[in-house]
């Protein structure tokens, strides 16, 4: 399509390396910038006190395992 001569492979290699390096550097900067911005945002408050029991995460117990459809497991 491009109709390049025997040196075309060098042109495409040079251009390919340029694109990969610049795109890689751009993505690296983007990920650093987003990471720093995320760290700057205030963290959501997690209230797990007795007055806010709904917010507390459910805790898995051995009793739940024993009451499962398969029944209790033995070692």
């Amino acid at each position: 399509m491009l109709g390049l001569d025997q040196n075309g492979v060098y042109v495409l290699s040079a251009l390919g390396i340029t694109i990969v390096v610049l795109a890689g550097y751009g993505l690296y900067l983007r990920s650093r910038l987003l990471g720093l911005r995320r760290r700057r945002e205030p963290a959501p408050t997690e209230d797990h006190s007795g007055r806010n029991v709904i917010a507390a995460a459910p805790i898995a117990t051995t009793a739940q395992v024993a009451n499962s459809a398969k029944g209790p497991t033995t070692p």
Partner: protein, 213 residues
């Protein structure tokens, strides 16, 4: 917002440059299609020089004012400049192989460019490892000293016997190229300069958001 516009603009200009390289520029009579590498090798090298000039100015300003904003600009520009110098060395080596028959030669232009690359790599290392306030000060001194290599790189093909071609454009060019060559080179120059501004602005933002150690 301005950074995004510059980034978007540089992407469009780079796409136009790619079109110009493959569909507007003609192959060289002697070099064939290898000459197409020049359309991005030269602008990349130009942007590296521009980046180090910004480091030079920012370093002087930082030593005079001790304002950390100048240090941030200098560090950002040095990092982007090192990336572009790396690409100038790589694309130059890829152009050199089919034309000179070797990837590397200890030619004055290539050697002084390699020295430039090492100098700003040293700048980044000093800036990373030396604690403030000494780190930014030492790096600023290196940023000023390192810039004196830029005119040496540019003029090396006049001062010494060299394999590297003379400048193809500008006041030191021996013969002015055709209009299509000039246009593709100029668009490429603007595209890579816009990309430099975009990357440096993002890098400065990172520098300003990074908590001081």
């Amino acid at each position: 917002m301005a950074t995004r516009i510059i980034g978007f603009g540089s992407a469009i200009l780079l796409a136009i440059t790619a079109y110009g390289i493959f569909f507007v520029a003609r192959p060289d009579r002697v070099q064939g299609d290898a000459a197409r590498i020049v359309y991005f090798h030269v602008p990349i090298a130009w942007v590296a020089f521009l980046a180090f000039f910004v480091v030079f100015v920012a370093s002087i300003a930082y030593l005079r004012t001790s304002n950390p904003r100048w240090d941030h600009l200098g560090r950002a520009s040095a990092e982007v400049g090192v990336v572009f110098t790396t690409l100038a060395l790589i694309t130059g080596a890829i152009w050199g192989y089919p034309i000179w028959g070797t990837w590397w030669s200890w030619d004055p232009k290539l050697t002084t460019t390699l020295i430039l690359w090492f100098m700003y790599l040293a700048y980044l290392m000093v800036r990373s490892y030396a604690e403030p306030p000494r780190g930014p000060r030492y790096a600023a001194i290196l940023g000023i000293v390192g810039f004196f290599d830029v005119p040496i790189v540019y003029l090396s093909s006049y001062w010494w016997r060299t394999l590297h071609p003379q400048p193809v454009i500008g006041p030191l060019a021996e013969q002015q190229p055709s209009a299509s060559i000039v246009w593709v080179l100029l668009i490429s120059l603007v595209a890579f300069s816009a990309l430099y501004v975009f990357l440096t602005r993002v890098r400065v933002d990172i520098e300003q958001l990074t908590p001081a150690t």
